[in-house]
């Protein structure tokens, strides 16, 4: 693997181009197991060379969706198209997809070499070509000196690499990754995340990753689909998902966020005053186009790092500001999370980067403070 300086963001966004044809299309997919509906009427397009993440809590149907693409499950309704061809009835051993399993599923009675060669042998490639490809794969995952070992003689990180090499050996059109990094420790996981993106750029393959770890999804993918109870809540780039979640669910699932319930007082469009909210006495103004009308119950969502914190009151204390006292402090090294208890009892989370060293920290428990934010810091959620 050529060592580059981490992943370079590509100018890659086929989903915004109406003329581009999706590589994989899930069309009105429903999957039921007995009375349980794992996936419900789901439609999703994934484009060629995209690194796509299915993100959601366990039981949200993301793994089922991936297993349907691999051919281990048949959809109850709807169809899956790969390059325009319906995959219905095509068994897993004839699909141009390969999967890296959560448990790695390495064959314990075969050496690393044999594991990687397994898929190639099924294609009845000439021996020399198989050997060459295996060597190339071992080099790719930096495991050349482990070729003759059995999986039980490898560490978790090495096994994960073998599993990756094995699933890449056949150069599948789509690589499916089922919680691929779940079993690794944090440092190794972060390293591998960057290697995965590198690898995907180098090989130019389409990757579909299933994960419940939002950080992992944000780091590696071009687009994320956030799923809940068999339904897709939002499909967007990591930045859009984080900065412009379309619902309370997505906002809450991705990262840390303050959600303040309230009602719309006035709504006159972003250009002329924006939305005014009344949240049980706390007045909030937002520059945003919003489909809701006066009186509707909505939620105001703002990330902790966008909440400003200070001892002095801001210039305008009538809107987007409240006084309270420091209730708890979470020191996380790179930044500190302040829990501010407002005078009305509400708790607002404000994050502050620890630019100065800890000894100089000016705020402590019980201090009277002001929290305030700008009109474009948060957004109104109607769902």
């Amino acid at each position: 693997m050529a060592k580059s300086l981490g992943p370079v963001k590509r100018k890659f966004s086929p989903w915004t181009d109406p003329t581009s044809v999706p590589f994989i299309r899930f069309e009105n997919i429903t999957k039921r197991f007995g009375n349980f509906t794992a996936v419900e009427n789901l439609t999703l397009d994934i484009y060629e060379r995209e690194f796509f993440a299915l993100l959601g809590p366990s039981g949200c149907g993301k793994t089922t969706l991936m297993r349907m693409l691999a051919g281990f499950e048949e959809p109850t309704e709807g169809r899956i198209l790969l390059q325009g061809k319906d995959l219905a009835g095509v068994p897993p051993y004839r699909r141009p997809t390969n999967m890296m399993f959560q448990s790695y599923a390495l064959f314990p009675h075969m050496t690393v070499e044999k594991n990687i060669a397994f898929g190639l042998e099924q294609d009845k490639l000439p021996k020399a070509e198989i050997a060459a490809r295996v060597e190339e794969m071992l080099k790719l995952v930096k495991l050349e000196q482990f070729a003759k070992r059995k999986p039980s003689q490898l560490s978790g990180g090495q096994r994960q690499r073998v599993a990756l090499a094995r699933s890449l050996a056949k150069r599948p059109k789509v690589l499916l990754l089922d919680e691929p990094l779940g079993a690794l420790d944090k440092k190794l996981r972060e390293e591998t995340q960057f290697e995965l993106t590198d690898l995907q750029h180098t090989l130019g393959l389409t990757f579909l990753i299933v994960t419940h770890d939002q950080e992992e999804a944000m780091t590696v993918s071009d687009r994320i689909a956030v799923m809940d109870k068999g339904v897709i809540m939002q499909v967007a780039t990591p930045a859009e998902i984080y900065e412009a979640p379309n619902s309370r669910y997505v906002a809450d699932f991705i990262g840390d966020i303050n959600i303040i319930e309230g009602a719309i007082v006035s709504n006159s469009g972003a250009a002329s005053g924006g939305v005014m909210l009344d949240c049980d006495g706390l007045k909030i103004a937002v520059d945003q186009e919003c489909p809701a009308s006066t009186g509707d119950r909505v939620a105001y969502a703002i990330r902790p790092e966008k909440v400003r914190l200070g001892i002095e009151p801001p210039a305008d204390t009538a809107v987007n500001a409240a006084a309270g006292e420091v209730y708890d402090i979470g020191y996380l090294g790179d930044f500190s999370l302040f829990l501010v208890k407002l005078d009305d009892g509400r708790i607002i989370r404000a994050a502050q980067a620890n630019i100065q060293r800890l000894v100089d920290r000016p705020l402590t428990f019980g201090d009277r403070v002001w929290v305030h934010w700008s009109r474009d810091a948060g957004l109104v959620l109607t769902r």
Partner: protein, 270 residues
């Protein structure tokens, strides 16, 4: 301390009760005297005599062939039964089937033997070598099924899915992935079936016919005419074979279990 001595005594008595009769038989098989109960010095003469006893040797040969054949057939059928019971959870009456597979374990042998005899008689099948093979296959199959079933329950299905995913069709997947991994259990099942067939008297007695006298039947009928040191000799060999079979089967299971534990341990350590 007192407790420890009590435990040791109980253990010794228990083992003595179990093994002294067998030990006596083994010792007397090396007796030089023709009288079974009088020690006349060490000798291998009965082992030599045994070899030249045509009736005994024929019976031994029949037993060996029956055991090999029935164990092999029982292993194939038992493994298939185990696969079906573990894998196809949706077949109707699965619970009934899995209960039924244990039935021969607790069924009195007399009843198993008699019912098979009735079957063969009603089908008008001449009793002989093959009916004994069939009878032994039926009752040892369930032992194989149980041994293999317990292995399959802990088998990681994603290994098979991985093979399918890499382009390997289902039947080939079974022979390349599943079978090699459950092989120790299958072999243990075979060993068990083999030894069960080797020492079965009751079921064989019901279903045998002319020219298909197994060793246990032969021994039993000879003993009625008086115990000869020759019988002791052949019994000693039989004991040896059965012991080796049982020990090998349990060692295979044990070793496999140990290896799995070690692998799991290694995996946990990363």
């Amino acid at each position: 301390m007192k407790n420890a001595r009590f435990d040791a005594t109980v253990l010794t008595l228990g083992f003595a009760f179990l093994y002294i009769p067998i030990l006596i038989l083994v010792i007397y098989s090396f007796n030089a005297s023709r009288l079974v109960t009088v020690w006349g010095g060490f000798s291998l003469v009965w082992y030599q005599q045994m070899w030249s006893n045509q009736g005994l040797m024929d019976a031994a040969w029949v037993t060996a062939r029956v055991a090999l054949l029935s164990a092999t057939i029982a292993t194939i059928l038992g493994t298939l039964a185990a696969l079906t019971l573990v894998r196809f959870r949706k077949i109707p009456g699965r619970l009934l089937f899995s209960g039924m597979i244990y039935a021969p374990l607790v069924m009195p042998e007399v009843i198993t033997g008699l019912s098979l005899l009735l079957l063969f008689v009603s089908l008008n099948v001449d009793r002989g070598f093959w009916t004994v093979v069939i009878a032994h296959t039926t009752f040892s199959m369930c032992y194989v099924a149980i041994v293999v079933q317990s292995r399959l329950l802990t088998f990681d299905r994603s290994l098979e899915e991985a093979a399918l995913d890499l382009g390997c069709p289902p039947v080939k997947t079974f022979f390349r992935i599943t079978l090699p991994l459950i092989l120790p259990a299958v072999l243990a099942g075979w060993m068990l079936a083999f030894t069960l067939s080797l020492d079965d008297l009751v079921i064989a007695n019901f279903n045998t016919g002319p020219g298909a006298t197994t060793l246990p039947i032969k021994i039993y009928s000879q003993v009625r005419l008086g115990v000869t040191p020759e019988i002791n000799a052949i019994c000693t060999i039989l004991i040896g074979l059965v012991a080796i079979g049982v020990i090998a089967a349990s060692l295979a299971t044990k070793r496999n279990e140990l290896r799995r534990q070690r692998d799991e341990h290694a995996a946990a350590q990363g």
